[in-house]
């Protein structure tokens, strides 16, 4: 029984991890929280939904469409809501205001297009189950797990083993120095947004499959939860975000299985507060950014 719950939790957690990684990527290069990232996740879910409903494509194609569409949306957001404000300087809160505005616009447009009621996510193809010892895994769950793992692997390869990844890490460390070395920070930031948003979009489809329904309001809930995961893992640390997501998925599923199911969503925040109290830099972060004093 416990193993089953753990496996379920890891599946859920893998999708959560993808969202949190998106936040971490953006925070890493910009030192800002992308408050509209949750909406990108939501749009990704809807792109996936529409592809399946109207174009009858396979889930894999739906995922790729969601990734591509979200990446485009993410880049638009960077160009419209972040870049001009960075150029203007000013208070560091200004980008937060503009991303809240952008999030509002996206959510409202989605509501107009798709209505505010939850829509069921269709099952595609036949659903089969496999038995691994005491654990039962459905094809949907397996799909989610595979897609997440492949995405995270691809991200790791990108960040650790390509020129682009190195450029990303350079800009995250120090934009000025990176510029002197010939890296264009603006392009890197755009690329980072594209990658982060693509992951978010993929997560949207996967979670839609997992929960079987989506609505234009899932953006806010996932958004805040994603930020909490980022804090648990350590801001700006993508591996921390991965592990944080997995941890949270496991905790949530276990909480539903063994405690009051309705408080499930509060566990993310409860865990976050515990981390803030005892290890503010997160599980894997450095204390550089934290520096609070009582």
């Amino acid at each position: 029984m416990l193993q089953q719950q753990l496996v379920n939790g890891l599946m859920l957690g893998a999708a959560y991890a993808l969202v949190a990684i998106g936040y971490s990527l953006v925070f890493g290069v910009l030192k800002l929280v992308h408050l509209a990232h949750g909406e990108v996740f939501m749009i990704g879910a809807f792109i996936g939904l529409q592809s399946v409903l109207w174009f009858k494509v396979s889930p894999v194609v739906a995922l790729l469409a969601a990734a591509a569409g979200s990446a485009v949306l993410g880049m638009i957001l960077e160009l419209v809501a972040f870049r001009p404000i960075r150029a203007r300087g000013g208070h560091f809160l200004a980008p937060m205001v503009s991303t809240i505005g952008a999030a509002l616009v996206i959510q409202e447009v989605a509501t107009k297009l798709f209505g505010s009621e939850p829509i069921g996510f269709p099952q595609t193809g036949t659903v089969t189950s496999w038995q691994f010892g005491a654990v039962q895994v459905s094809s949907v769950q397996l799909f989610i797990l595979l897609a997440s793992v492949i995405s995270m692997l691809a991200l790791h390869l990108l960040v650790a083993h390509t020129r682009y990844g190195m450029a990303m890490r350079a800009v995250a460390e120090s934009p000025g120095t990176a510029a002197i070395l010939g890296i264009n920070p603006n392009n890197v930031i755009l690329l980072t947004f594209a990658v982060a948003s693509a992951l978010g979009g993929v997560a949207g489809v996967l979670l839609g499959l997992s929960f079987n329904s989506i609505s234009p309001y899932i953006g806010i809930d996932m958004g805040i939860k994603g930020m909490a995961i980022m804090l648990i893992g350590g801001l700006g640390n993508i591996y921390g975000a991965m592990l944080g997501g997995l941890l949270l998925g496991a905790v949530e599923v276990l909480s539903v299985a063994y405690f009051e199911s309705s408080y499930r969503d509060a566990f993310a925040f409860g865990l976050m507060i515990i981390i803030v109290l005892f290890r503010p830099q997160g599980l894997f972060g450095s204390s550089y950014h934290v520096e609070g004093r009582a």
Partner: protein, 271 residues
């Protein structure tokens, strides 16, 4: 109740929320979870005034005190972090409060509380606003107000000047939360029905916007910000269906046009 009276009441409640956030922010404590304090104040006040027959003013104060206690509870972990960590922490707090009320049967769970008596009057709110503004001004001119600004600007130097950081940060959180709780009480007895969904992140973001848009050098900032955010959708009513969208666009534009807030950087006042 006429349309204009209704708008004025909503404006006044928003002004209170703006001031409730302005006070902790003056000490450098940013909160994106103020809707949580508002919710606590709303529920406590509604339970006392509508269901237990307590005098409205007393119920409002009780709601404020309950919210202030919550403010102290959040304030403690907040001492250990700053900047973006603080923002995320307070967002989490707001969510925890919302989820709590979603599950708490004695206050109706997801269906919320209905049949709250319409005790909110515009004159009552105006008095509350005047008091809140007075509190903010009094604080600013006092030793504590200077300490808050010092803490906001440079904690290390402030502490070396003899300022007890914990006290300043905790108390600004508590006072701000108190005002938000009172605002919640007024809101409950105006809307006559409250549910957890009304106190979600969007509500916290709204209060945050009042302060950031209006500027937070003086108490005038959140007032202007609240006015802008409340009245603009009313003026744009003709856009009807698309008002929130247009509003979001305006926010992006405002952040671009005035990154320092509509009131601008601090004008130095003579002491």
């Amino acid at each position: 109740m006429s349309y204009y009276e209704s708008v004025a009441i909503v404006l006044a409640i928003n002004v209170l929320m703006g001031i409730s956030l302005y006070i902790p922010m003056a000490a450098g404590q940013i909160s994106l979870g103020h809707a949580g304090f508002m919710a606590i104040g709303a529920y406590v006040c509604a339970l006392l005034a509508s269901q237990s027959g307590v005098a409205f003013a007393l119920a409002l104060l009780a709601g404020g005190v309950a919210a202030a206690l919550a403010g102290l509870t959040v304030g403690f972990p907040a001492l250990r972090v700053r900047g973006i960590y603080l923002i995320i922490l307070t967002m989490g707090f707001g969510e925890i409060v919302r989820i709590f009320f979603l599950n708490f049967e004695p206050t109706g769970g997801p269906s919320g509380l209905r049949g709250i008596k319409p005790l909110t009057t515009l004159s009552g709110l105006v008095i509350a606003c005047v008091i809140a503004i007075g509190v903010a001004v009094q604080l600013r001119r006092s030793r504590v107000g200077r300490a808050m600004i010092a803490v906001h600007e440079d904690e290390g130097a402030a502490e070396a000047m003899g300022i007890h950081l914990m006290y300043v940060k905790l108390m600004s959180f508590a006072v701000g939360a108190f005002i938000a709780g009172v605002a919640g009480g007024f809101y409950a007895h105006y809307a006559m029905f409250i549910e957890p969904a009304q106190f979600g992140f969007l509500r916290s973001a709204e209060a945050f916007l009042f302060v950031v848009l209006g500027g937070f050098s003086t108490v005038l900032g959140p007032i202007v910000g609240a006015a802008f955010v409340t009245l603009l959708p009313e003026v744009l009513r003709f856009i009807q269906e698309w008002r929130m969208t247009f509003f979001g666009v305006l926010l992006v534009a405002a952040a671009l046009w005035r990154p320092d807030g509509l009131i601008g950087p601090r004008r130095l006042k003579g002491s």
